[in-house]
Subunit: 328 residues, 2 copies
Amino acid sequence: MRTGDETMTPDELEDLCRAAVRGAGGGPRTADVLARATVAAERRGRSSVGAGHLLDYLSALREGRLAGEADPVVTRPLVGTVLADAREGTAHAAFEAALPELDAAARSCGVAVLSIRGAFSAGELGWYARRLADDGLVALVAGNSPALMSAFGAPAAVTGTNPLAFALPHPDGVRAFDQASSETAWVSVRDAAARGEELPEGWALGSDGRPTTDARDALDGALVPFGGAKGSNIALMIELLAVLSGGALSREAAPFDRGSESPRLGLFALALDPNAFDAGYSERVEAHLARLAQAHGADFGRRRPPLERILLEPRIRRALADAAGVAA
Amino acid sequence: MRTGDETMTPDELEDLCRAAVRGAGGGPRTADVLARATVAAERRGRSSVGAGHLLDYLSALREGRLAGEADPVVTRPLVGTVLADAREGTAHAAFEAALPELDAAARSCGVAVLSIRGAFSAGELGWYARRLADDGLVALVAGNSPALMSAFGAPAAVTGTNPLAFALPHPDGVRAFDQASSETAWVSVRDAAARGEELPEGWALGSDGRPTTDARDALDGALVPFGGAKGSNIALMIELLAVLSGGALSREAAPFDRGSESPRLGLFALALDPNAFDAGYSERVEAHLARLAQAHGADFGRRRPPLERILLEPRIRRALADAAGVAA
């Protein structure tokens, strides 16, 4: 029987997540950054990359494919390039460690790139892009992931679901999008298989490399990119940008959900200072986006008000509490 | 009656194009750059952005919406940013004028951005990206164009067909893609209307904002983006990057095919020096792309051998010869 209010405040959830990561073997830096990213995703209603996804990080910490005490190494070999070796820890911690240098580089050069290597799966990519836009920068962030997706009609997985995020500063809150290169998310296929449901056509290939609507068969096959050949191009471009400083290619990356080997993935973050190009840019964009939304209903990167109360699935809440060593 | 070999060598076509542009009022710089870009497109078999498209530039020169003698103004306000005002001339000439600075900036910073404003339609975007990759740089180029396309389900045109090009150096020739953000090209709709043919479903909206297969109705309506909401995001991102230094937004740009007003569009070119990130990058990518092609038939940015002989449609050849004041 459910009694009372089972929702949590953002602070309560952040504390629970932090304790769960510490309980699974993560150091203070890893715990802090994963807790904040998890709460940010949940507050935007993106549960699939929120608390449920944190369970993947907890398993990874316990099983050794995510280094919970890694100290990222940040260098700035040229004035516009910041390189961060995550040393098998989170991409988040590497990003946090590199952010001051990236901000400074973007201000002094007008444009700068952070390239992360040796990282665990990046989680919600919009988190990185929004951080940069919060600092007044236009951001394009691209990450690769272990191979789960076909491209160019290949009958097997040749690349990851490679997400892309874009964000720009906006007076009433950052405008951003964050999207996978696959027609649907891997978790959608996994969930359909668990429920014994069929997939819509166009989501996946089966183990024989042919289109399938059988979710179990799709788990042994491959996802399909959004947008056909054009989407395939985007997915490969993302991968080739993500691995610039030595991140593992999708096909060579260890899985994020089993084993003790780090996927050692890459992440690419481009930061542009709009004021270096045109002092009137932000105003022009703001007026344009307002007009598109009002006159045409086309609302680019719209910000929903962040949730003030978060309700976790009981299964997820219990798992976090178990990891944290507290009562659910 | 057709007699003999009607094909041309690249040099013959380049000379004809140069003379045609001069005949239509273009100065030597405009003639040179448009002739080279046209031949490059034709040699890759991309006639729609080749000699046929040059006729659009000739009309634009004659009717005053393309300035044939414009001297681009190039500045480098910060070490990583190159700005070029095309002054209502071609994006090509502005790009050529800025290329030495862009190359130098990418070498010294590891990353640099060229932002063009005040330009005529950019033509084949792959031309710009390939030029950078020929210089050993990884390139991402984005351009906007006058509004012809819906996005996010809007019932009217809210943005351009906004192409994106990506190129990277490769020992057996640059690997590159170049794609519009629309499901199909505007010329495909125009040609279908001229032939009285129906459009496939999913290409266009009619004048009432609803999906149509009537090509004539689609000319008064809007194209549809590739890849649904994800493609809409890509298209808007391209536009927001393209106008960084003051290029006109698609909805505010004058048309490229009529009138005497310049569309004054923008173009964004990101250049990355891969050696600034990882000396082994090019080798890793080369091996990866070879494996994808061999094992999975997924051939990213494959280079076809350029054509050694080019055959123009008689109509196009005659129009170029007329403009050049020579026999067809």
